[in-house]
């Protein structure tokens, strides 16, 4: 083998190994063995992301009385960050999640007031 071409071959092999590791590490459909990355559109991933954040914040309302002032303030900030994201969704999503977010934030503010 020509010594000049050796580094190029090594790069190609290295790149192939790296790509393989990335696909092994990502979630895979166990029935087909296909990486689920192929099926996730960027918009879908973004939607899942804000819904996860919404669930993480608003699932804590029943427990809000036991949260500290700092924890409540942090949750309120997270609600405020979610608001423009939800306002950018289509009509029904905006209506349902907008109402829920408002109720969730109002309660957190209310509980924070009780702790003054």
């Amino acid at each position: 083998m020509n010594n000049d071409k050796l580094p190029k071959v090594l790069y190609q092999v290295g790149a192939a190994i790296l790509v393989s590791f990335v696909f092994i590490a990502l979630p895979t459909d166990h029935d087909t063995g296909i990486s689920l990355l192929c099926f996730v559109k960027p918009s879908q991933a973004a939607e899942e992301s804000w819904k996860q954040e919404f669930n993480a914040v608003c699932s804590q309302t029943n427990d809000s009385m036991s949260l500290s002032r700092e924890e409540l303030q942090l949750l309120i900030v997270r609600c405020e960050k979610l608001k423009p994201v939800i306002e950018g969704q289509e009509e029904t999503t905006r209506k349902v999640y907008g109402k829920r977010l408002e109720m969730c934030k109002n309660l957190l503010v209310f509980v924070l007031e009780t702790k003054k």
Binding site: F54, N55, A56, C58, S59, Q60, T61, N62, D63, S64, M65, S66, T92, T93, K95, V96, Y97, K99, R100, M103, C104, N106, L107, V109, F110, V111, E113, T114
Partner: protein, 218 residues
């Protein structure tokens, strides 16, 4: 398509008020939600449960109808779109409530007692919606009656919290941050404010005075 006849009694026997009016987003007043069949098909409102798949409770709930509806699914559509039609319901009120504790007023069922006795089990979470953390047990408290002829009120915060969670009442209906901070009277309640938001419509009626004014008159 006929109007929907919604059986609130059937839904309240299976779910907390919170899950429908907070998590799913149904407004508290009739006609305000303005949902469409397309919303249901996308998993919102009725479609959150009525999607033909198994929820975290059994059995799977029948699917909401499509828009436009397929001819073969019309009998399923009729299960809800039944106004003015002679549709045989799966659950009939008289049969369903036959063994439930009775109440003199309202729809004749003491739902609170039915729940306490374990005759109904209320779901408070649905698949795909936030799993609400369990609430610490709330303490009941006494509220002074404004009329000398009526006993004081024993308010069960525990029972209200179980059915409604926190954000259904606070701060929209009860703004005060401490007991006694929100001033209201029976006139306002009869106008549909405060307790009247629910107790004029679906919860036991206001005329059942002794259900709240439980303490004896001095």
């Amino acid at each position: 398509m006929a109007k929907v006849v919604f059986n609130h009694w059937l839904h309240r026997s299976q779910f907390t008020c919170r899950v429908c009016h907070v998590d799913i987003g149904f407004f508290m007043k009739q006609g305000e939600t303005r949902l469409t069949a397309a919303d249901n098909m996308r998993g919102y409102y009725c479609g959150a449960c009525h999607n033909g798949t198994k929820q975290n409770f059994a059995p799977p709930v029948f699917k909401a109808c499509s828009t436009p509806p397929n001819p073969e699914e019309m009998s399923r559509c009729d299960r809800c779109h039944s106004f003015g039609k002679d549709v045989k319901k799966k659950y009939e009120f008289a049969e369903f409530t036959e063994k439930m504790p009775k109440a003199a007023l309202g729809n004749g069922v003491d739902w609170e007692k039915a729940e306490t006795a374990g005759l109904i089990t209320l779901q408070d979470n649905l698949q795909g919606l936030p799993i609400i953390k369990k609430m610490p047990i709330q303490k009941d408290f006494s509220l002074d009656s404004k009329g000398s002829w009526m006993g004081d009120i024993l308010f069960s915060h525990k029972k209200h919290a179980k059915w409604n969670g926190c954000e259904l009442c606070h701060p929209d209906i009860f703004l005060g941050v401490s007991r006694g901070a929100t001033k209201y009277n029976m006139f306002q309640i009869y106008e549909g404010e405060y307790c009247g938001v629910c107790h004029l419509n679906v919860a036991f009626p206001l005329k059942d005075c002794a259900k709240c004014h439980v303490n004896p008159v001095d």
